[in-house]
Symmetry: C2
Subunit: 185 residues, 2 copies
């Protein structure tokens, strides 16, 4: 499966495309950062992020977009920008009918490094190794976007089994948006 | 001037259009709520909000969109949905080149009722009076959207004077996006 990972941010929005399946070597198809000027109006910055994400979707046609799940307990100032940028990424994907999956930072770290508390260096080192790159992608937002995509590819089989088990437990109901939601978010 | 006020929310996004200038009677051109189902995926809900806001912009062609400024110190769960919905509203406006102004809830309450701590009933009563309506718009999100539009129309002259004073204080610089930003947000 081909996954676009998005590490949302107003100033730097990391994007990375990974292709592969769990248990097989993965391939990086692209990595980059959508930047917007800090002195521009928020609305203009969101338009720039929309254009950037749309360009990545056009070029790589991912089957799924994995976005970092934003929590409000982070730094008060940055969390609003992160929430706004992630909304634009989700909007761009959903508008095209591409499913969106959300993973928390600790889910991503645990999937990639084995520890939910790993630091940026450790995540960057594992992304470099798993994708057989020459050096860790810079900036860290780009590496985090690739980590999100890898995390989703590796978690997808377990999430699918969970989805099937939930569907089997409700034989009288057809699969609904709500039941799918539990699995893909 | 014609202003679309947006009280952002994922479940209920209040929208209201007010026309007028400070010091003259105001006219309500439309009021409503863009609703999205709570059991839908966030991405789908953001697409529905985008379609709803776009429809209001198409119909009423406002000169400016006034959006409630979201703070992270609110309820942790609802603030993320509010931030996401407000991002979509700002995106829809900015994509069309329509300026966006942000006002805090207390700025709106103070403008409409004279007190930054006024409750919903008081805001609803003043919106009803100022727009010469038969009854307060329901739900409260719709009344809040109208209050945002009124607040912007009334604050606009002072904001414009501030903008001009700031521009005059920097005669060597041409007006930049950043200097405009201080005034309109």
């Amino acid at each position: 499966m081909r996954v676009l990972g998005v590490d949302p941010g107003l100033t730097r929005c990391g994007v990375g495309v990974v292709e592969g399946v769990a248990g097989r070597p993965l391939a990086m198809l692209g990595v980059g950062v959508v930047r917007t000027p800090a002195d521009a109006e928020t609305g203009q910055r969101l338009v720039a992020i929309e254009q950037g994400i749309d360009a990545w979707l056009d070029e790589h046609r991912p089957e799924l977009v994995a976005v970092e799940r934003v929590f409000a307990q982070h730094n008060v100032r940055t969390v609003m920008g992160t929430a706004q940028a992630s909304a634009v990424a989700m909007l761009c994907a959903s508008r095209r009918g591409i499913p969106v999956a959300l993973h928390t930072p600790s889910e991503v770290k645990a999937a990639i490094t084995g520890s939910g508390r790993a630091d940026k260096t450790q995540v960057g080192a594992m992304v470099t190794r798993l994708l057989r790159l020459d050096a860790p992608p810079k900036p860290a937002d780009a590496a985090d976007a690739l980590a999100l995509a890898i995390c989703h590819i590796w978690r997808a089989p377990a999430l699918n089994r969970l989805q099937q088990a939930q569907a089997a437990a409700r034989p009288s109901r057809i699969p609904t948006t709500a039941s799918v939601r539990k699995v893909t978010r």
